[in-house]
Symmetry: C2
Subunit: 204 residues, 2 copies
């Protein structure tokens, strides 16, 4: 496919983003996609084999963007500051969106785990990459003595992701920043060995 075809594919994916984030992959119909893209069925099917290919390609690209967000968030002068920056950026990201839409990967996990294996596989791969990136930083911080050693780095990474996903879910449900803020604050209190200079959460 030439540059123009690639551009059209990308535009379809961009137009569909809002639908996938709020309705989910299953509830988004071909009719929804035609309406939001303004395309004919023939034209849409020239670029993608169907709704599932559009959804899966969207999910894959979103996974790549999330890894870039992670690499950006996991920055800082020390491992524990990298972790802390990430926690604060994750909170700021969802807060800026008014806790609408939630986490695409969490939503897709719940939507597709039992019913759509192809979607579940891409989602599981994204969570695995996320866990590995966090575990590297947490292990460094454990070696520095700045993060507790009550569990292995990999176990703490998995736990951080679970708590964040649950916090996002609760903030989205109650349309309040309090649950996710509480998750981030409690994680910080539980994980960091030295709490004496723990700054209050930045985004107020």
């Amino acid at each position: 496919m030439g540059a123009k075809g690639e551009k059209t594919r990308q535009k379809i994916l961009e137009d569909a983003a809002e639908l996938f984030h709020t309705k989910g992959f299953g509830a988004t119909s071909v009719r929804d996609l035609l309406q939001v893209t303004g395309m004919t069925k023939g034209s849409l099917y020239f670029h993608f084999s169907g709704k599932d290919e559009i959804g899966l390609e969207y999910l894959r690209q979103a996974g790549e963007r999330f890894m870039a967000f992670l690499d950006e968030g996991l920055e800082g002068p020390s491992a524990v500051e990298k972790l802390d920056n990430f926690l604060q950026q994750a909170f700021a990201y969802h807060r800026a969106r008014g806790f609408v839409g939630g986490c695409l990967f969490g939503n897709t996990a719940l939507e597709t785990s039992d019913t759509a294996p192809a979607f579940a596989r891409v989602t599981a791969a994204t969570f695995n990459q996320w866990r590995k990136k966090l575990a590297v930083i947490i292990e460094q911080a454990q070696n520095d003595g700045t993060v507790c050693r009550i569990r292995s780095a990999d176990e703490l990474a998995e736990f951080v992701i679970a708590a964040l996903e649950g916090g996002i879910m609760q903030s989205r449900l109650h349309k309040s920043e309090a649950p996710m803020r509480n998750c981030v604050e409690t994680l910080r209190m539980m994980l960091y060995s030295d709490k004496t200079d723990l700054q209050p959460h930045k985004p107020h």
Copy 2:
């Protein structure tokens, strides 16, 4: 409605349970409901005003059953043992189901938070009741000195729910008990002040 009508309503709700748990409320169609109940449309609509009333009534009753499960789980000779029994029973419940279906309230939160306010309200009320029941036990355990005081009882209760929901999500996605087991074990390590006689997680 007489006893027979009430019995039919309950049978409709029971027949629909599997659909609501695996497909969700939005993706369950009236056609699905007719198929699973074996009823005609006229007969179904005699008992309920429509799909939403069936879903909402199912969700309300499931909330009541969950509160009974909580009261049963939150038993034990001391507050911290009540909390620990609950954590272990929550794990055992989802493990017995092979992590299929997940948590109805978590699923419904993600499915309906942005799109179906009536469902989101019932779900939020269930989570609030859950949080309050846990907070009572956690406060008692904090007063006993058996649960840490790094956060208030209400904040810890909210955090426990978020971490469990995230753990259920990850176990369901990866079809492995490891993520939820890790969540429960990490919560136990983080929350309990005295870890010296912490028994390994019972259900192996």
